[in-house]
Point group: D2
Chain length 307, copies 4
């Protein structure tokens, strides 16, 4: 049995993020080693011309300061298919309308916040009055029509003026899926329009065909999950139809535990039994807060992809 020694990480002045991530790789797959491996795999996914990259994004990514990174990697076309929660799109639209998320704290009197019109998302805050502007946006732009969810989201992107996830996906024609869209501020805005007798019909099953077709026709698939939830599971479901018995590359970043049996915390290797992940796929489970791991990975990969 030939063994590779663990090379300790060193202290170094003016160290580059990419150099630190490369050093992390040399400790094996303990903690930081998984960040190192994820950076290698994501680089491969992007450089492999045959690979269609599916990104699933769940959790408080935008309050957690990851919006610019997400927009950037969509803009650079590192991502081919984007699946996310309704909350992420609502947060994105709120910022596109000129609002912010704010630095807050979780040890605070929530009742006081409520009186001040502030909504708490763990350690971040959002002003409740953003909903008035959201409503104005939906009043001022005409959403009547019949859609599938993807078409409806591109329509929002079409009406969005500022740089945002929704606008980039529309402009670059990146397929964006959000099966749980009714579970979000955007959902509430549609409900509000329906109450005003606006005719907006959005079919829940129609764009399922589209993601399954992308999975079916791609040469190779790569999956990248930020958190779990519906986005991960929806991509995993499509992977059953991908060539090569599932994805060829896989990365997931989550702190959810596998033991409950839920999809969010399920280890990627479980997907091999389902044919969602190829038995020879290169994949890694990064057990870390996304807000820590993602900037490390993305800012290491940029140095490798665009030298």
């Amino acid at each position: 049995m030939e063994l590779k020694p663990i090379v300790p990480i060193e202290i170094k002045k003016n160290m580059l993020v990419n150099d630190l991530v490369l050093a992390m790789k040399n400790i094996g797959v303990m903690g930081a080693g998984r960040i190192g491996e994820a950076a290698d795999i994501f680089t491969k996914m992007i450089q492999d011309k045959e690979c269609t990259v599916f990104l699933g994004a769940a959790g408080a990514l935008i309050p957690g300061g990851q919006r610019e990174l997400l927009i950037s990697i969509l803009e650079k076309k590192w991502i081919d298919v984007f699946v996310c929660t309704g909350a992420t799109l609502t947060h994105d639209l709120i910022e596109a309308l000129g609002h912010n998320h704010y630095q807050g704290h979780h040890l605070i009197d929530d009742n006081e916040l409520n009186k001040k019109g502030i909504d708490r998302i763990y350690d971040s805050f959002m002003k409740n009055d953003v909903y008035a502007d959201l409503e104005k946006f939906f009043n001022e732009n005409d959403f009547t029509g019949e859609y599938n969810i993807k078409e409806f989201l591109w329509k929002i992107g079409y009406f969005t003026k500022k740089r945002s996830i929704l606008k980039i996906c529309y402009e670059k024609k990146i397929p964006i899926f959000c099966p749980g869209i009714s579970d979000s501020g955007i959902g509430l805005m549609v409900w509000n329009q329906l109450n005003k007798n606006k005719k907006i019909k959005v079919d829940v099953f129609n764009d399922l065909k589209e993601i399954l077709d992308i999975a079916w026709t791609c040469k190779k698939a790569g999956v990248f999950y930020l958190g779990g939830g519906l986005p991960k599971n929806f991509i995993q479901q499509a992977m059953q139809f991908s060539p090569k018995d599932g994805a060829s590359y896989g990365i997931q970043i989550t702190t959810d535990r596998p033991e409950s049996g839920g999809s969010s915390g399920a280890e990627l290797r479980e997907g091999i039994s389902w044919g969602k992940l190829n038995e020879k796929a290169r994949f890694i489970d990064v057990i870390c807060d996304v807000t820590i791991a993602l900037p490390l990975i993305i800012n290491a990969v940029i140095d490798r992809i665009e030298p």
Copy 2:
């Protein structure tokens, strides 16, 4: 400051579950104490005639042996509104069609399982050929029509012959919401029907009005979350419209951590800032595997409710 001593739990022969749960309460809100408090709160929710109980269910509950408990509490009408994931309904339908989930293990060669046609859900197994029977069920029953999601799910319940969550909800007219239905085996079956040119149209936003109306018109709301995910968030969203500035009772059972900022692990008190939980609500976060906590709570509550 008057302080209440912690009363140690004792060893006792032939101890009843309810007596153990009562004893747990006396250690305060440390670990087991939260189980004790949850049993008290759930008892209150059921006994409070003014309270409408919303149950959100996510995660591998049916592979985790919780199906009978869920059916029983729906049957007893302890639950007024049921929200869950597509996976839970698919697992339910699979068992209603006569199939089982099986005792497995997570330390196993997933590639071997794949070759044997076995899908792994952490420590449980499912035979892949259940999908053939699912397909047959959707072929043999006529689902053509235009629905909202709730109506569509009741339709499945209508066609289901054996005791199941879907059937009980249909028969007892319990509103059942599943915004992410396309992300499931049932979703795949509908896609299959659409491929055969069956006309099935299911609107994603239409039944949002219904859950919001229930929240809006109820006298008091109680929320009970098994895991997080979309079911929790969808009920939380509705709570903003409930009377009394949010729910009056709350229980959540999850091992997801709050720090990522995602809705799944968010502490219930966070909802106070949003007006999703009343500042004076009685609520508890149980940090435990649902398969351990739920049977304890339910089998303690039955002794109190039906003496």
Copy 3:
């Protein structure tokens, strides 16, 4: 591949704890199933006449209401060797001197508590003035002498009047090890005696021989870990010297994760590589709060052991 179906847990009036734990076993090794398996294994450990049972106890067990259960299983001689932290023995002695731990809450102003002389242990409280009584106890009883740690702990047990872990271990001559004793309130009391020029000499390595001898000479070993920390690691270290290439039975209850690589969260099977656990041992990792899992297991086992 023959598969065993998962049997759902049922709702039942007047259910016995033992019946619930038996039912938990039938869902496999998902969550609750591990509690079921642990109860079976602990029963075996006790009934196997050849087996020497080592219990390692770490964490806030006494503030968490587990003191009576611990005393009872020591009293019944279900445990042959007891290893714990200094904090647990300090909490035990505090209660033996007539003080209590109190029901508190973690969302509280710690500065206010400090002013009131209350120390917080997560959701439980302790009055700071217990230290005055501890000091009195050490002033009034003569501890001068030369000991190893075990002898010193038995001496405390000898002077202790009320039913307690320390007293039971002394009276029943149960070897009790606490390598980190200086890291505790008891440690501070000794330091205080040393300041008064009392001659108390306690050797740190001397009783290592004793636990290694017990491990070396026993016919079979069974290990039971409540939390991780030093108690688990100290027993694991001894297991390397036990017959049959390590322990024949193993149970651990912890919510610590394995990924950091620390001993506390390490899965039991890791011990096989070290020769700390026999490759054919029957063992289970219970991933649960000890205050929930331990009363379930103990109150199930009593019905099986003493019918």
Copy 4:
């Protein structure tokens, strides 16, 4: 209520680690923000001439590639008092004797490893034959004498030839405490010497006075915890005796949860109730794998301290 917007982290070529950590700070205290805050606090601790810095180190730090960072910050005298587990010192000595830890994997047959003489520490490996060299080291150097634990550890450092934690602490006269030393490979070596009738007497309580004196006489204290366990608790215990009602600065990096009530996962603010942390202290709980967080913090701080 004035609110500070969250500034998203950007993608940037050739980004410096320090610039990324500074950017992390601007998302508030969500995930990555805590890394940013910890780097600020550690910089302050070092730059504050009045501050005595106590480092507590637990967990698989050396197999996790953190040895060089630890040696470096001891060498630079950023740390005034070092407390750790016996395992860390054993791993350090093993590497000082010329051995390595190796890159491994946790999904492996532990029985095969056992047959090959390889011990597994989660995802890292160690060759079992290192113990032969450890034994040789203890045979060849004369450890007879009477010590407290700190003196005994300095003696090991005195005999150690290669750069190591033990040697640096000895050479720089950095007080090193390890109350649980008997729970380690070093402990086993002493037991072996005792079996050969070597007279080695090490008192367990004697150096408690020393750490309490350092705490008592310092002007200000800063605490930095890598993992929890005995090292954290031992420093926390000493903080009760520090001026200013506890430490003035605090950082802890752990993924242990607070809910079990154990010291390892306890939030730093809990220490305020005990007088272990000053109510006005600047402190942060970093919820992250140490192998990820520590290199980020240290390699950011070096750019600030040594410009």
